[in-house]
């Protein structure tokens, strides 16, 4: 009779129990999964109030934030585990798993599941989400001039950025693989921009594209420096529609080629040497080795890297947002329009509709990507 519901046999045992006890167990589990995390959150809450104090010394606020943020989450689990210890032994191990997964599920419900449903609802409502307006917002998305422009631009982003990143990355990985020395250093130099924020990279590139009209000081941008050196007139690079979109894409290519290169390089190194050597002994040229052996062997990796780049390009926001006035420059993209409509134009319905369009565009690519990633994980 005193067998505790050990961690191995909880579900079948629960099924064999009389109905009353099963309900009791269920209620307890529900409490474990929902109530206990909420209580712990409430406790932490009181500390957070301090952090709102505008006049407090910044150093102290940041210090408290670090201690509370890092310590709080440990305290949360420790506290919940202590509560579980007080439960009757019979149910303890049945409740404990829900303590472990509870916070994860609570946060995901609040921050992802609920918002997805809510965004879908909002996208059918008006600017202040008061009345349903049917498909008006979606009609707007597919007829408004700037929206159509942003869809065209985003299409260019998701084709060109992955194309250049993967091509340059593959070429560089193949070449660097042949180096006797310095391969690691060369690769980390290409990879380095990956550590920088889009905002930082945008400033870096604005310095390169910088333009001053004649008579307004000297041109200190590298590109216009070259133009002047060649005896040409300086060019306002970021105002040349539609080519300025390419100028912005260059930034993303600069940042993400390193990622493509590192992943592809690892795939190239995983090709068994015997195959490549055999081909060379049989008289294959380097180009043939590359096209007939290296590329086909790493095709799955190329696919994964490409989808990753496509998703990133679909969601590009920071570069366009930081680099200038997207609307007047004609550099609008979908993710940037969403923020603009929600925050600047204060039209939640249209913002949500744009987000939904983005979601619908991303889901198939993402599902495919996760599936490929899982396959790769299995074979590793």
């Amino acid at each position: 009779m005193t067998t505790s519901s050990g961690s191995t046999g909880a579900p079948p045992e629960a099924a064999a129990q009389p109905a009353g006890r099963a309900v009791g167990m269920f209620v307890l589990r529900l409490l474990g999964a929902v109530a206990i995390p909420l209580v712990a959150f409430a406790l932490l809450w009181m500390t957070f109030e301090y952090l709102r104090n505008e006049n407090a010394n910044r150093g102290i606020v940041v210090g408290v934030a670090l201690v509370v943020g890092v310590g709080g989450v440990f305290f949360l689990y420790w506290g919940m585990n202590r509560v579980v210890e007080y439960l009757p032994e019979r149910v303890r191990e049945g409740v404990r798993p829900y303590i472990f997964v509870g916070p994860c599920l609570v946060i995901l419900s609040v921050f992802l599941i609920y918002p997805v449903i809510n965004t879908i609802l909002i996208s059918f409502k008006d600017a202040r989400s008061e009345n349903f307006v049917g498909l008006d917002n979606f009609r707007f998305v597919f007829t408004n001039h700037d929206m159509l422009l942003s869809i065209r631009n985003t299409a260019a982003w998701i084709i060109l950025v992955p194309l250049f990143c993967v091509t340059i990355g593959l070429a560089f990985a193949t070449l660097a693989d042949r180096l006797r020395r310095g391969e690691a250093v060369a690769k980390s130099m290409i990879f380095l921009p990956m550590a920088i924020s889009f905002a930082g990279a945008s400033i870096t590139w604005r310095l390169i594209y910088s333009y001053r009209p004649q008579g307004f000081g000297s041109n200190i941008g590298l590109l216009n420096g070259i133009m002047i050196g060649l005896g040409q007139d300086p060019v306002p690079w970021l105002q040349q529609q539609p080519w300025n979109n390419l100028m912005l894409m260059v930034i993303m290519v600069w940042m993400q080629t390193g990622f493509a290169m590192v992943v592809l390089s690892a795939a190239i190194k995983a090709i068994p040497d015997e195959i490549i050597e055999a081909a060379r002994i049989d008289g294959a040229s380097e180009m043939q080795v590359f096209r007939r052996i290296i590329v086909p062997s790493i095709l799955p990796t190329i696919a994964v890297v490409t989808t990753y780049m496509v998703i990133n390009a679909l969601k590009v926001f920071d570069i366009v947002f930081v680099m200038g006035n997207a609307e007047s420059d004609g550099t609008v993209v979908i993710a940037e329009r969403m923020i603009d409509w929600f925050f600047t134009s204060l039209h939640a319905g249209r913002g949500a509709a744009i987000a939904l369009v983005l979601f619908v565009a991303i889901v198939p690519v993402m599902i495919w990507n996760v599936r490929r990633f899982r396959e790769q994980e299995m074979t590793r």
């Binding site: 909880a10 505008e54 910044r58 940041v62 934030a65 509370v68 943020g69 191990e93 404990r96 798993p97 472990f100 997964v101 916070p103 994860c104 599920l105 946060i107 995901l108 609040v110 921050f111 992802l112 609920y114 918002p115 809510n118 340059i168 560089f172 180096l179 006797r180 060369a186 290409i190 380095l192 921009p193 550590a195 920088i196 924020s197 889009f198 905002a199 930082g200 400033i203 310095l207 390169i208 000297s218 200190i220 590298l222 600069w254 990622f259 190194k269 490549i276 060379r280 380097e286 890297v305 926001f317 930081v322 923020i339 939640a348 939904l356 983005l358 979601f359 993402m366 996760v370 990633f373």
Partner: protein, 325 residues
């Protein structure tokens, strides 16, 4: 290959990589080796590397030049007389740190990034452990839901969460979520980053923790350890490589993030993080290149330190993080 006890056979094995090749006698090499190569490859690689470094070099050099020089001539002109003292200054960094508020913003970035890294990893590690080593009803369904949420782009969540923070949630005329007034607070940003990072973190840690040998956990159970002790004393120490890789990815992701900080923390001078401060500076003093570049370099400093000191974990983390939604 520094170990003195390497058997001679190891050297002739067709191992890939420069070290192994160097040990092979010269005559044995030329059969399976790339024939051309040499100079052309070396020069091409060097050219690409230089091309890739030019933008960063421009920022770094400009940030150390006095205002008059910066506005009067391109940064590449310093190479004409690199040792003239009038060409260099540290004043831009003091301006950026104090007057432009980047010292403050650096602290804010830290206060956002460290908890926004620790919280999701801790929550994900507990969940990953439960999904791999505990048995409970609904385990499979819950796990599928968590992994399924990988496909949700965070843009889908911005508007509802912003409203949730501001007014709480009302369903059928009833308040189902309290009005917490979280906009503009660190906690609001931490939780948002936690929510958006959790699916990936849980999924990656599940892959790792689930692949640990079950014999370790079984023997700990026989010794009387409960799940909490096993998790804390056994699983966490064993999972350090996976935790470190994801921590670096998440930390840099949060540190470099502009969107979530812009939406939930706002652009007030008190609260702004580095990316927001950079953007505000660009709006307000868009042609003050000497301050802009110094500020940009301040924002890059920590990621670059992480990059150079933890490169191995860094690459692994970014590769693993490639499926973030």
């Amino acid at each position: 290959m520094s170990s003195p006890t390497v058997p001679p056979a190891a050297a002739t094995e067709p191992q890939r990589g420069e070290i192994a090749m160097r040990d092979v006698p010269r005559e044995a090499r030329n059969v399976g080796e790339p024939r051309q190569g040499g100079w052309i490859i070396r020069i091409t690689v060097a050219l690409i590397v230089i091309l890739w470094l030019i933008p960063t070099a421009g920022v770094l050099i400009t940030s150390f030049r006095p205002e008059a020089q910066v506005l009067g001539s391109g940064w590449w002109t310093v190479f004409a007389h690199p040792f003239r003292a009038a060409e260099w200054t540290l004043a831009n960094y003091t301006t950026a740190l104090d007057a432009a508020g980047f010292g403050n913003a650096f602290l804010n970035s830290l206060a956002v990034s460290v908890p926004a890294t620790v919280i999701p990893i801790t929550i994900a590690a507990f969940a990953a452990y439960a999904f791999s080593w505990m048995e409970f009803r609904g385990r499979y369904v819950m796990f599928v839901v968590v992994v399924g949420l990988l496909v949700v782009p965070l843009q889908m969540a911005l508007i509802p969460i912003l409203r949730l923070y501001a007014d709480g949630a009302v369903l059928f005329g009833r308040q189902i979520f309290p009005d917490l007034d979280l906009n503009g607070t660190f906690l609001g940003v931490w939780l948002a980053h936690t929510g958006f990072g959790l699916p990936l973190a849980t999924y990656l840690l599940y892959n790792y923790i689930g692949s640990l040998p079950s014999s370790i956990i079984e023997s700990a159970k026989i010794d009387g350890a409960d799940h909490f002790t096993i998790f804390w004393r056994l699983i966490i120490p064993l999972s350090v490589p996976a935790l470190a890789a994801f921590a670096i990815f998440q930390f840099l992701w949060v540190w470099n993030d502009l969107l979530i900080a812009y939406v939930f923390l706002g652009g007030s001078r008190q609260n702004q993080v580095l990316t927001i401060a950079l953007r505000n500076l660009l709006g307000g003093r868009g042609e003050d290149w000497q301050v802009l570049t110094a500020a940009a370099f301040i924002s890059m400093s920590l990621p670059l330190i992480v990059f150079f000191s933890l490169q191995k974990y860094f690459v692994r983390g970014l590769t693993a993080g490639a499926v973030k939604g």
